[in-house]
């Protein structure tokens, strides 16, 4: 299990001094504010370094490191330097809960953030609630805003699936077709897609003609294509997992150059995958949802270039060091934005140590407007303190010449829905 400290590389002397100071502080039984201010703010990062989320984890770590560097160079948070403690959860829910424990109790982190995969969030959030440690997830799942979690779990750096889908459905119905066949992974994240898209397209006068669930470990897809009804106008596909290239390749073999439905996919299928990969030619002309356009759009905001430079991503969405190393660009911004959200709220609440955790969560719940800027390169957001969820704009891109070209951006309001919960009425 790998533990990495970045941001500040402590010398041995610094570590020994720190341990000595810790001993004295511990034996004194209290941490005096004057010491706490000098000590670094320790943030735990629950990282998918191994397991099925490893492609994402690598980029989340790079992005968080870049944000950390920027924040520390500008004087840290509330005048304190910041450290991130990375702990691998193996993209495994059971391990996730242990990681929350370890970051909190062993490393003494002030809060925990960075979790992406929804099953790990579901496995870890209850433990974070028991330990009363703020837990800021970057996972897109609707589980935060649905009320399934607790007062200590928030999602300020990325929009949720329900919001993404409801803002996509009108465009799909208006531009691609109204009879939709859905391919989705056979677990919670996929069911969110199934349920909310089916409702959202019906609201547009459309219809889901077939719902095809794919087991998460599937490696061959041709057998499912036979279930696509002939009347289908749009194939909606969202799948997270290493099988996606095969899915597209086999779809190409199945339909060939003959008549075929329009394709609309979620970029989750192709994160960290080069859209110009041989075998993906079938995607040419199809559309994708993107949170943050991978290929820099012509009308990109002022912060876009600076953000790409900071995280080491070129204008095509690949690493500047290796053009074959494609970023998980539509997700990784959440690590960056969440860290800036932490900075903003730690400073606003006057947070000094773990005793102030409740105050910190209250300060987070009080946030409403999150304007565009280098702190939020994906776009402006609105935070709903009651549902603990951020809302933002979404993008639709079209594959042209093997590249994703942005063709449409939604407004923030298009992704809003009625509150499903009011966490602020729950006890801490």
């Amino acid at each position: 299990m790998k533990t990495t400290l970045t941001g500040i590389a402590p010398s041995r002397r610094a570590v020994l001094t720190g341990m000595g100071a810790g001993l004295i502080a511990g034996s004194a039984g209290l941490v005096r504010p004057v010491w706490a201010q000098a000590a670094p703010l320790k943030l735990g990062f629950q990282l998918h370094a191994t397991g099925i989320g490893a492609s994402y984890g690598r980029w989340y770590q790079r992005t968080a490191d870049a944000a950390l560097k920027k924040i520390n160079e500008a004087g840290g948070i509330g005048g304190r330097p910041v450290e991130i403690v990375y702990e691998d959860d193996g993209t495994d829910p059971a391990r996730g809960a242990e990681v929350v424990d370890k970051l909190n109790s062993q490393h003494g982190c002030d809060l925990i953030f960075g979790t992406l995969f929804s099953h790990v969030v579901m496995g870890s959030a209850p433990r974070a609630g028991e330990l009363k440690v703020p837990y800021l997830v970057c996972s897109e799942g609707y589980h935060v805003a649905s009320g399934a979690l607790n007062r200590w779990t928030l999602q300020p750096g990325i929009t949720d699936v329900r919001s993404q889908i409801s803002s996509m459905a009108p465009w799909v119905a208006g531009n691609l077709g109204k009879k939709v066949t859905m391919f989705f992974p056979d677990y919670a994240f996929g069911y969110d897609h199934r349920d909310f898209f089916t409702k959202a397209i019906e609201a547009q006068g459309g219809q889901v003609v077939a719902q095809i669930a794919i087991p998460p470990t599937e490696t061959s897809y041709t057998r499912y294509f036979a279930q696509i009804p002939a009347e289908t106008e749009v194939l909606y596909h969202v799948m997270v997992g290493p099988g996606v290239l095969t899915f597209v390749k086999e779809l190409g073999e199945f339909y060939g150059s003959g008549a075929k439905p329009q394709l609309f996919g979620f970029i989750d299928s192709l994160e960290a995958v080069d859209t110009a990969t041989p075998g993906l030619e079938f995607l040419e002309g199809s559309h994708f949802w993107e949170a943050h356009p991978r290929v820099k759009p012509a009308d990109a905001g002022a912060a876009e270039g600076d953000y790409r430079a900071a995280v080491g991503v070129d204008d095509n969405g690949a690493s500047v060091a290796d053009a074959k190393d494609v970023a998980t660009y539509s997700h990784m911004f959440s690590a960056w934005e969440t860290l800036h959200f932490i900075k903003q709220t730690v400073e606003a609440s006057g947070y000094a140590g773990v005793a102030d955790r409740q105050k910190l969560v209250e300060a987070m719940e009080a946030v409403t407007d999150l304007p565009y800027g280098i702190e939020r390169p994906q776009g402006a957001k609105v935070f709903n303190g009651k549902t603990h969820q951020a809302f933002g704009s979404q993008n639709i891109s079209k594959v042209e010449g093997g590249k994703l070209v942005k063709v449409h951006t939604t407004t923030i309001d298009e992704g809003k829905y009625d509150d499903g919960v009011d966490y602020t009425t729950m006890s801490f």
């Binding site: 490893a54 057998r223 036979a226 199945f254 060939g256």
Partner: protein, 292 residues
């Protein structure tokens, strides 16, 4: 799609998975038959073969078919050598104690996976198919390469059978399988037979990997499912019986294709697992296994 083409597609898909499964499982079965040990790292050897195939195919200039052929020629022996080395350095020292071998091969599984993660990385990567023939049937299109996989797997299995029944090496292996003490008394170098068998088993997994990567992607966790299915196949077919393995692979592959298309993929997994339970209860030696 009407019933006929639907069934045809299900059978074609089932046949492809049966062919790959037969190759994988025959390696596992061979190792168990001769050495009486369970190789939990079998799926990891499959994955290693795929990663090496990706590496070789990416470093050989020329059209995809050249890189793929080179991979097919050099990757299985490489993986076989690696496995033989593991046999000599680890398994032999454990004196082939069944429980110890299971633990050791679990360790090997983790080592191979983590080495792949550190060197190859976490992303899924494709290997170009040696040829991109697409068969257009009246109802749907199908990959010509997949049908080639079936034929190639059949040829490899035939070769394994010929080696086992017609060559001196096969004779020696079968002799060791029947009674290793007597075999040793007749001057057979049992250590070498074991190393060769373990290497051959892993090499078969690597052949399956090189055949299958152009239709799927290389990923460092790709060995898990094939390992599980191989175990199911080998248990149903009878440990150590090549014929049983082949029949079981066909049963599982075809039923998986048909059941998962007409009903649900999860149901086919449930039925396969149920079949294992039934076989273990009513015919513990497997369909074709000899009584222990």
């Amino acid at each position: 799609m009407s019933f006929g083409p639907f069934l045809l597609l299900a059978l074609m898909e089932g046949l492809v998975s049966a062919a790959v499964l037969a190759l994988m499982a025959s390696g596992l079965s061979l190792v168990f038959g001769v050495m009486r040990v369970v190789n939990v790292a079998h799926g990891a050897f499959f994955m290693t073969g795929a990663v090496l195939a990706w590496f070789v195919a990416g470093h050989v200039p020329g059209p995809p078919v050249v890189g793929w052929l080179v991979a097919l020629i050099i990757v299985p022996p490489l993986v076989g050598l690696l496995a033989a080395a593991v046999d000599v350095l680890v398994l032999k020292r454990l004196e082939y104690e069944p429980e110890a071998v299971i633990v050791a091969t679990i360790g090997l599984l983790y080592i191979l996976e983590q080495v792949a993660l550190l060197s190859f990385g976490p992303d899924a990567r494709p290997v170009a198919a040696p040829f991109s023939l697409r068969l257009q049937l009246p109802w749907f299109g199908y990959s010509g390469y997949k049908l080639f996989v079936v034929a190639a797997a059949g040829a490899v299995l035939l070769a394994v059978w010929l080696v086992m029944t017609r060559t001196r090496f096969g004779l020696v292996m079968r002799a060791t399988q029947v009674d290793r003490v007597t075999a040793r008394a007749f001057g057979i170098n049992v250590d070498r037979v074991y190393a060769g068998t373990f290497g051959l088993g892993a090499a078969l997994a690597a052949v399956a990997a090189v055949l299958v990567v152009p239709t799927t992607q290389v990923h460092y966790l790709m060995g898990g499912d094939p390992l599980l299915l191989s175990f199911i196949t080998v248990i149903i077919g009878g440990l150590g019986s090549l014929r049983g393995t082949l029949v079981a692979a066909l049963i599982i592959g075809l039923s998986d294709g048909v059941i998962s298309m007409f009903w649900a993929p999860t149901l086919s997994k449930i039925i396969a697992t149920l079949l294992v339970a039934l076989v273990l209860v009513f015919r513990p030696q497997g369909l074709f296994g000899a009584k222990a």
